[in-house]
């Protein structure tokens, strides 16, 4: 039986009564203690997303705090250089804080306020999700704690420093691979113990269903802006349009594609291939991983035969995660989106080329998407359009880039 995506129904709502997408992805595989808090949050969010006042509040903060809309620009030099499709970027890194994680963080803090919670906790890999949650928490007067792998604290120091500067506590996670996967686990464990007083924010479209929903609903702002900007630029949605986005947990991609779901736009998701020839790639959709359960949801996930979650390796902390959003598993199996992977070296080269030719400098996560765009563009006609979500800024990766390439440009 082939899976179908339903028209006119938001992607996040295409689940069954068990919160499963396509009958096999997602759900709520959670300890009993979290049933009630998750149930409460599910009901609260269902009410809020229908509440005009809440929507107005969201839009107010997106405009005046996040800074909507983020720019949509043509990359003239890159297009010229590659001599193929026209390449554009949606410069989401211009949002307050420097990445798309601000949408989810802002909405979670608004919800936490409505729920009467004074504390928020969240996970982070690249440090953006943590930085944004700490920023938003400060803005809305909430106490904030961020779980971050010890390895990521070291390799993403600018963001780790920002979290502390915003007055949040960073809890270094020293279990397992000391990266995002462990940070999410530790954050969930913390929430199990403190769910009566504390609101949890999951940093991407992963975890129990409600967190997937809130996150994708928040990042959808990206495509709400983009669809207008595209119509302004082209008069309509171009006949041949590719929307390319990196996928770690999948929150930026879900938001970048959401408003285009029922259109003819093609979606390409780019996973982290890890170091060249690495077996530790963080690419569950590209490399034929089996469905398993990670962090409360069924998804394609890197694991061994027994069901122990596998370790991954990527130059980009934000993509270095063994699982992937159930939404993307669903988009893959319905064939609505295509997924591929790009290795560390290709991502670095893409960073370098884009930073040299253009006024933007993508971080290592969107550099994966740019690498795919750079591969594809020369094969396409000039009437075709590629848009890349440039969802993070290279500043946070300065040290890694310097170490790998010898110099850093921006």
């Amino acid at each position: 039986m082939s899976l179908k995506i339903k028209k006119n129904i938001p992607l996040i709502d295409q689940h069954d009564k068990n919160y499963m997408y396509g009958g096999k992805f997602g759900g709520n595989f959670i300890p009993e203690t979290l049933k009630k808090p998750i149930d409460d949050l599910t009901k609260l969010f269902a009410k809020l997303r229908k509440d005009k006042k809440f929507i107005n509040e969201r839009d107010y903060y997106f405009k005046n705090y996040v800074g909507a809309p983020t720019p949509f620009i043509k990359l003239e030099n890159l297009t010229e250089h590659l001599k193929g499709a026209q390449i554009y970027a949606k410069v989401v890194s211009e949002a307050n804080g420097g990445a798309h994680k601000i949408y989810n963080a802002t909405v979670h803090c608004l919800i936490a306020k409505k729920a009467g919670k004074k504390y928020v906790v969240g996970d982070t890999g690249a440090g953006y999700a943590g930085k944004m949650l700490s920023m938003a928490a400060k803005k809305f007067g909430l106490n904030c704690k961020i779980f971050m792998g010890a390895k990521d604290i070291k390799r993403q120091r600018p963001n780790a420093d920002a979290i502390k500067k915003n007055g949040a506590e960073i809890v270094p996670v020293t279990t397992g691979s000391q990266t995002l996967v462990d940070a999410v686990s530790e954050c969930m464990r913390y929430w199990v113990s403190n769910c009566d007083t504390t609101h949890m924010c999951v940093g991407s479209t992963v975890g129990p269903n409600i967190f997937i929903k809130i996150c994708a609903w928040s990042t959808a702002q990206i495509s709400r802006e983009l669809i207008e900007q595209i119509k302004e630029e082209f008069g309509k949605i171009p006949n041949k349009l590719k929307l390319i986005n990196c996928v770690g947990g999948g929150s930026s991609a879900a938001g970048f594609w959401n408003e285009f779901m029922d259109t003819h736009a093609q979606f390409i998701g780019v996973e982290a291939g890890g170091p060249k020839n690495s077996k530790l790639h963080a690419a569950p959709l590209t490399n034929g991983s089996k469905i398993g359960i990670l962090h409360g949801a069924a998804q394609y996930v890197i694991q061994d035969k027994e069901g122990q979650i596998g370790s991954t390796e990527s130059i980009s902390a934000g993509l270095d995660y063994p699982g992937i959003s159930p939404l993307h598993c669903f988009l893959k199996d319905t064939k609505r989106a295509k997924y591929t992977s790009v290795n560390d070296e290709e991502a670095l080269k893409a960073y370098q080329l884009v930073s040299k030719l253009e006024n933007i400098s993508p971080s290592l996560e969107p550099s994966h998407a740019f690498a795919e765009a750079i591969k594809l563009a020369p094969k396409l006609k000039s009437s075709e359009v590629i848009i890349v979500n440039s969802c993070g800024d290279s500043l946070k990766d300065k040290d890694i880039i310097k170490q790998k390439l010898g110099s850093y440009i921006r």
């Binding site: 009993e32 049933k35 279990t175 199990v192």
Partner: protein, 267 residues
């Protein structure tokens, strides 16, 4: 219908007017042989043995049990070793109930039916699946029932009254009450009195049900909870193994002593 070994144990404890002592250790901690030796020893004092099958991404375990799981996995423990441990133990202790406890992904990868077949073949009496809550667990719980394996439902302080009633109605021979909002091994942050108040509220809904309390119980707190049908001690035992390994002592004899002392406190 034939009574399960788990029911028989609770009946015996009722007659003896005491609560059942339930231990939790991780299969393969710190290796297969010691794990079997530990079960053999502590089963002299414990009434029911919970055995964790380790997972490397647990979302509800505290540091002590994570440590034990980590040790077991480092030694390459696989599900087949877990069943081997059960089988070896059951050969000498056929009437002592063993309950496997773990996360659903291992069962999912193994295949539900396949997993239950191995449970049956090795002599597993019951299952606790941490991340398969009610009602999502109905299907699997029914499969267990058909194989005469107890599926043990969990109830937490956050579980609503309505939900508690439904869970009890669908439960098998034992129900697990989580003492407080915590991962395993947290310090008891609620007074035993308060825990028992909550416990009794649930117990009154169906007094015949064997309702046990777990999470945060140690030698310091166990006697104050001894009016419950059963009490689970886990992290304290995992910690005992950790400490004895650190000090170069034999974890088997250490654990034997600790469990003996726990038992003394509730009889």
């Amino acid at each position: 219908m034939k009574k399960s070994k788990i029911s028989l144990v609770f009946n015996k404890c009722k007659i003896e007017k005491r609560s059942a002592l339930i231990t939790y250790t991780v299969a393969g901690d710190n290796n297969v042989n010691n794990s079997i030796k530990i079960l053999n020893k502590i089963s002299k004092h414990a009434d029911i043995l919970e055995l964790g099958f380790p997972h490397n991404t647990p979302i509800a375990d505290g540091g002590q049990i994570q440590g034990s799981s980590h040790r077991a996995l480092k030694h390459g423990i696989k599900l087949k070793d877990v069943f081997h441990i059960v089988k070896r133990f059951k050969k000498n202790n056929p009437s002592k109930p063993i309950i496997l406890m773990g996360y659903f992904n291992l069962i999912y990868q193994n295949g539900e039916d396949n997993f239950l077949k191995s449970c049956k073949a090795s002599g597993v009496d019951g299952l606790i699946i941490v991340d398969l809550p009610y009602p999502e667990n109905k299907n699997f719980a029914n499969k267990c029932k058909k194989k005469s394996i107890n599926f043990i439902q969990l109830i937490s302080p956050t579980t609503s009254k309505d939900r508690v009633k439904k869970i009890i109605k669908d439960s098998h021979d034992m129900i697990y009450y989580i003492s407080m909002l915590s991962t395993t091994g947290g310090e008891l942050k609620v007074s035993p009195k308060k825990i028992l108040q909550n416990y009794n509220k649930i117990k009154r809904i169906d007094p015949k049900k064997n309702l046990v309390i777990g999470f945060g119980i140690t030698d310091k707190t166990i006697s104050s909870l001894k009016s419950a049908s059963g009490l689970v001690v886990g992290s304290m035992l995992c910690k005992t193994i950790t400490n004895s390994l650190k000090m170069g002592q034999n974890p088997v004899t250490k654990l034997d002593k600790v469990v003996y002392n726990l038992k003394k406190k509730i009889i």
